[in-house]
């Protein structure tokens, strides 16, 4: 096989987003065109089609890169199978870039401020190919790690300053040293790939796009800690991730990279996948272990900590996918290099999942310490439909909402906590003026209430009562004093719950009250939803002064309840209207309320 540098490579995104947008058809079309034109012979090079992992810009899939040796790679977006003949005939056969179909300048901007370390292989290599992995510095980190003593490996991780990416931000090296220090030789290593946080999908991308990279990180940890058995606990909603990781594990066993005497490096490591079964609380360490043991996934009090008494009562170390993925780079490039990126308290890069009302939703990897403004405006192109930025929700159900004023906050563990949110797993949901903050608080509370395991009374019953209050408020039936009552309950539930779920569930309520108290007051005192989003308070009328007569609402209404003609004001027929909010979402001028 020709070395990678001498081939023409067509990189097709085949992450979940790519596949959903038709990446398989695009791949088949390329293969058919290559066959038809006898391309290999004509250009005198091997042309290879490569299915890569996610590039982070799933909304613009299918993304295709054509890489011709000696030339700059060209990215095309929104590629459909019909476009492929033109790409092959013009770009590959005659060297004419199809300018019109190239990804616009936004793509360059999207990549500019990013620093893709953990993601450096995602989107550039064939995720399923061990050869590709090896050609991109695969297993260099573990080979370096085994030249040190296990204790030195742990010191190196401490020196790098790496903190856990699963939410808590606990220093990884310190965590490893606890487990390594526990007596006994039967130890377990677990990778937490439960990713229960709605709105975050970076772990999924790593699993799908660079499964060997995760295995390498786990091998290093297993060597350092002396854990001979490992599990990857993957949520069952990720079928593709499970498939790719299983394949990578199988290949590693076949080649002797896993199992007895891994890679011939003198240590043993067995690794297997455990599929989750749909319970958010199973992301909590002790619940996760109970789940692997085949029990209900309920948290238990700590101590004893997993490092002392974990899975099957043995010392156990649990880290997040992104944490392990970072580890191999720390060894490959050195702890000093890693520590030179980021801020005082947060080293390295962090992957964020940006979703919601933003132009380019996606996964971005940036050096810690960059500001929220840079991420939202520079990397992701700003707010959708040029609406006004209202808030960003950081850290998922355990995090909080930050208002527009906080947009210059840095994204690192400490700055976010100071502002009343948290990094969590890195989900950032951007909201514009059409999002109601009371509704968002209700949404999260509904989620945590459903996912509460029910062990603690404050969490099980307290959250339900808070939810009832919030529901009342969004229906315009709030009582004076509700806000204070909610706040009191928040503090009690935080204090009295056993695990992180209950301890953090009130955060979205607290932070929205802190920054958006006026919205609560408008609902309670005036039965008004300032963002026109709470359905039962919406009137569905066109505001004549604001209507620009564009007709968008007419086009989107699924039940023909909007009357409109060119140059005329739109009118909503109240009898036909099903209050589906289609028109409200579509109107660019906030002319419906």
């Amino acid at each position: 096989m020709a070395a990678i540098e001498e081939q023409i490579r067509v990189l097709i995104c085949q992450g979940t987003g790519g596949l959903a947008s038709g990446a398989k058809e695009v791949e088949l079309a390329f293969r058919a065109e290559f066959e038809k034109h006898g391309v290999d012979a004509k250009v005198g090079k091997r042309c290879t089609v490569v299915g890569t992992g996610c590039r982070g810009l799933c909304a613009n899939d299918v993304l295709v890169d054509i890489v011709i040796p000696g030339q700059e790679a060209v990215t095309y977006d929104f590629v459909k199978a019909e476009l492929v003949p033109q790409l092959v005939e013009e770009h590959i056969l005659t060297g004419q870039v199809v300018e019109k179909k190239k990804a616009g300048p936004y793509y360059q901007k999207f990549l500019e401020k990013q620093m893709r370390v953990v993601f450096s292989r995602c989107g550039t290599i064939d995720a399923e190919s061990l050869e590709d992995f090896l050609a991109h510095d695969g297993f260099v980190g573990i080979r370096k790690a085994v030249t040190m003593k296990p204790q030195e490996v742990i010191e190196e991780v401490k020196k790098s300053g790496l903190r856990g990416r699963g939410g808590g931000g606990f220093p990884t090296g310190v965590k490893w040293s606890f487990c390594a220090a526990s007596p006994g030789t039967d130890k377990y290593l677990i990778c937490n790939a439960d990713e229960g946080d709605p709105g975050a999908f970076m772990d999924r991308s790593i699993l799908e796009g660079d499964p060997y990279g995760l295995i390498e990180g786990m091998m290093i940890a297993s060597y350092a800690i002396g854990a001979k058995n490992g599990y990857v606990y993957v949520r069952a909603e990720y079928p593709l991730a499970i498939k790719r990781l299983q394949k990578a594990i199988d290949v590693c066993y076949e080649k002797g990279f896993l199992g007895k005497n891994c890679l011939g490096l003198g240590f043993d490591f067995d690794l297997r996948i455990k599929a989750g079964a749909g319970a958010f609380v199973c992301g909590e360490e002790t619940a996760l272990m109970a789940s692997i043991e085949g029990e209900r996934g309920m948290p238990r009090p700590r101590p004893p900590f997993p490092a002392v008494r974990g899975l099957w009562t043995k010392p156990t170390n649990i880290n997040n996918v992104e944490t392990f993925a970072n580890v191999s780079y720390i060894f490959y490039r050195g702890a000093e290099w890693f520590a030179s990126i980021g801020t005082e308290g947060t080293k390295g890069t962090k992957i964020f999942a940006l979703t919601g009302k933003i132009k380019h939703t996606g996964l971005v990897e940036v050096p810690a310490g960059i500001t929220m403004r840079e991420v939202i405006y520079d990397v992701c192109g700003g707010i959708l439909n040029n609406r006004k930025f209202k808030a960003v929700q950081a850290g998922g159900p355990s995090g909080g909402c930050l208002p527009g004023e906080a947009i210059d906050a840095q994204v690192d563990y400490d700055s976010l906590i100071k502002a009343g949110a948290m990094m969590g797993s890195g989900g950032l949901v951007v909201m514009d003026e059409t999002t109601c903050m009371v509704d968002i608080a209700r949404f999260f509370l509904n989620f945590t209430r459903m996912e509460s395991c029910g062990k603690c009374v404050p969490c099980r019953i307290g959250l339900k009562i808070m939810l009832d209050i919030l529901e009342r408020i969004t229906e315009g039936k709030g009582h004076p004093g509700d806000i204070d009552l909610l706040q009191d309950m928040c503090f009690d539930i935080k204090k009295a719950s056993l695990c992180g779920l209950g301890q953090t569930a009130p955060n979205p309520v607290l932070s929205t009250i802190r920054y958006f108290r006026h919205e609560y007051e408008a609902h309670i005192e005036h039965q008004r939803c300032p963002s026109n989003s709470c359905k039962s308070l919406l009137k569905f009328e066109v505001v004549e002064a604001a209507c620009k007569k564009c007709g968008l609402c007419f086009k989107v209404c699924p039940v023909d309840a909007v009357r409109w003609e060119k140059g005329q004001l739109a009118v909503i027929d109240k009898d036909k209207c099903t209050r589906c909010t289609s028109c409200y979402d579509a109107c660019r001028f906030m002319a419906i309320e």
């Binding site: 979940t16 987003g17 596949l19 959903a20 947008s21 982070g56 810009l57 799933c58 909304a59 899939d61 990713e195 229960g196 946080d197 709605p198 709105g199 975050a200 999908f201 999924r204 069952a236 909603e237 079928p239 455990k274 599929a275 079964a277 749909g278 319970a279 958010f280 789940s291 692997i292 043991e293 085949g294 209900r296 996934g297 309920m298 099957w312 999942a353 979703t355 919601g356 009302k357 939703t361 996606g362 996964l363 929700q393 998922g396 989900g427 949901v429 909201m431 999002t435 968002i440 949404f443 999260f444 989620f447 996912e451 395991c453 989107v556 699924p558 589906c580 909010t581 289609s582 979402d585």
Partner: protein, 165 residues
């Protein structure tokens, strides 16, 4: 359910597939969950006779098995539709109008969350996040993901699957 009825149900179910799954895991630690998951994959749900069989062969109390079954969202004790439509209700999808997508689906199929149409063709499930948040709102039909959903697109997808058998 009377004894006689229970027997009728029992006769209808071929336990062969379940036995095979159990054979594979019988000596493994923590076998219960993978066994339940794979038996469910084989039958589409967990028929009562299979649960009894698992209890006997893995030597686990029925009460413990039901404890596990009712705890996790992904176990199903009733037959399910051929097409499982999962509507994401996660944060990103919520902000982009998942509620409306879910309402439309319920209207089109006449069933709500965790329900199955009488002809066993569709089951609807509201889930917390599909992990394709960049394309919100998102739904999945079996293993196929559909992003950037609208009311219109929902109509088309339901039509498409209705037409398939």
């Amino acid at each position: 359910m009377s004894n006689a009825e229970a027997q009728v149900v029992q006769e209808e179910i071929d336990l062969g597939m379940a036995n095979k799954v159990i054979d594979k895991y019988i000596n493994m630690k923590g076998a219960l969950m993978p066994v339940l998951q794979e038996v469910q994959d084989a039958y589409g749900y967990l028929p009562e006779p299979c649960i009894h069989l698992i209890s006997e062969r893995l030597n686990v109390y029925l009460s413990q098995i039901y404890g596990v079954l009712t705890f996790y969202a992904q176990f199903h004790l009733e037959p399910r539709g051929k097409y499982i439509v999962r509507v994401c209700m996660g944060t990103a999808c919520h902000v982009k109008g998942a509620g409306r997508i879910g309402d439309t689906l319920s209207e089109l199929l006449g069933i709500g969350h965790a329900e199955t149409t009488e002809d066993l063709k569709f089951t609807v499930e509201h889930v917390a996040c599909i992990g394709a948040c960049g394309m919100a709102p998102v739904i999945m039909v079996n293993e196929a993901t559909y992003g950037s959903m609208s009311v219109q697109k929902m109509n088309e997808i339901v039509e498409k699957y209705r037409a398939m058998d």
